[in-house]
Symmetry: C2
């Protein structure tokens, strides 16, 4: 019998260096809202999503790539010089199908670069919107897995941790899981899985984004499997895993 | 009416820099076992406890200070050249009364130095063994509070987080608490407060220490108020707050 692969949870990019990423699949999690928007755009037929950290790079790629849409927000408003925001609601099929979304995302992009620098095998993105795709993929690959929460400026956040817990709750029999972060994440998810929408309203991020009138976005972002595809990172681009 | 002070939880020394420590009380938490041993030694009449990071400094202070006891462990054994270990059971009143305990503790001492470098007002130590003293002190001071979990080599751990949650559960009405780490800590404590001994046996640290035959130590370390004094750091030494 083969030994099961391991699964670890990193609660913040500032803790990622403590986990061995060598040859592992890293699931990047940024529930509010980058990884929810990424799965939504791809689910609705976007050809690819290019995640970038810097606004200038976003603009440059938007100019270079045919049929590109540039997107990014600061404090709830579209960044000057970009075209759209970070809301999944901005990317219905009628608009995004066949296009390339160049998305500015600080926390998630940072984590993506760290993951490759530390020798991971591959990066996929996860959020409640594609929970089943993530679980199916990681159980089929038989590789070690690291669930990487993006947090907020390196701070711990609950929504990413809750998603990590949701994954662990579904796949735990298929992995060796020994770290306290995974145990905590699963417990807190189990405690609130039936009242996620209510509980999430206690989080810091909810308060920040709800102040911009984004409650509907946030509700969407905790809806299980509403954009159920698996974004996988290949050659600098996120595309749907086939 | 005065504005309430704030309370934040830092889940690891690697996240402490994200919290404003200026003029705050920092509660250093290292449940298994440094801060449990510190409160026990002081409760049993030790004159003071001097926490040090390096073994050499521990030996040097042990030679210089009259009536000193040097202590420190690596992998469950007393470090060569030191006299005693990290177990609270080694410091009954008949032995430790009137003495100075020079204690080697890697995770906790690191956090202590970071806290002062970042401008905190004072440092106290907390563990389940002195829960009530910690809660009473921080509610009386009317200063901002940071609960600093020591973790294990910067990794998140559950036992320190559970203690942070126990404090928050008792003092929450007296502070402004908005961070997700505090919310999570309180929730996980509430979930397990009536079966703490059973739950803690799932943690990484339990498995590591129980392998050295330290189950009784660990059970002691989660006993509420069994050594209920407040260790406060003054001039390089931890003494009982009077």
């Amino acid at each position: 019998m083969n030994k099961k692969p391991t699964l670890f949870t990193s609660l913040s990019p500032a803790l990622l260096h403590l986990t061995n990423l060598k040859d592992a699949i890293v699931v990047i999690i940024d529930v509010f809202r980058a990884t929810s928007t990424i799965s939504t755009a791809l689910f609705n037929g976007a050809e690819k999503v290019i995640p970038v950290a810097a606004v200038d790079e976003c603009k440059r790629l938007g100019d270079e790539i045919p049929n590109a849409v540039t997107a990014g927000e600061r404090e709830g408003k579209v960044i000057e010089g970009l075209q759209y925001g970070n809301s999944p609601a901005e990317y219905p099929r009628a608009f995004i199908e066949g296009k390339t979304l160049v998305l500015t995302t600080t926390n998630g992009t940072k984590l993506l670069h760290m993951a490759f620098e530390r020798g991971c095998a591959e990066v996929v993105t996860g959020s409640f919107t594609n929970l089943s795709s993530v679980c199916e993929y990681i159980t089929n690959q038989e590789k070690n897995v690291v669930l990487g929460c993006s947090g907020w400026k390196d701070m711990f956040n609950l929504e990413d941790t809750l998603f990590a817990g949701a994954v662990i709750d579904r796949v735990k029999e298929r992995f060796i899981i020994h770290d306290d972060a995974s145990l905590m994440a699963q417990q807190i998810y189990r405690l609130h899985e039936n009242n996620l929408y209510k509980f999430i309203q206690n989080t810091t991020h909810w308060h920040r984004l709800a102040a911009y009138g984004l409650q509907r976005d946030l509700q969407y972002c905790i809806t299980h499997d509403i954009a159920n595809v698996l974004p996988i990172f290949k050659n600098g681009e996120l595309v749907v895993y086939q």
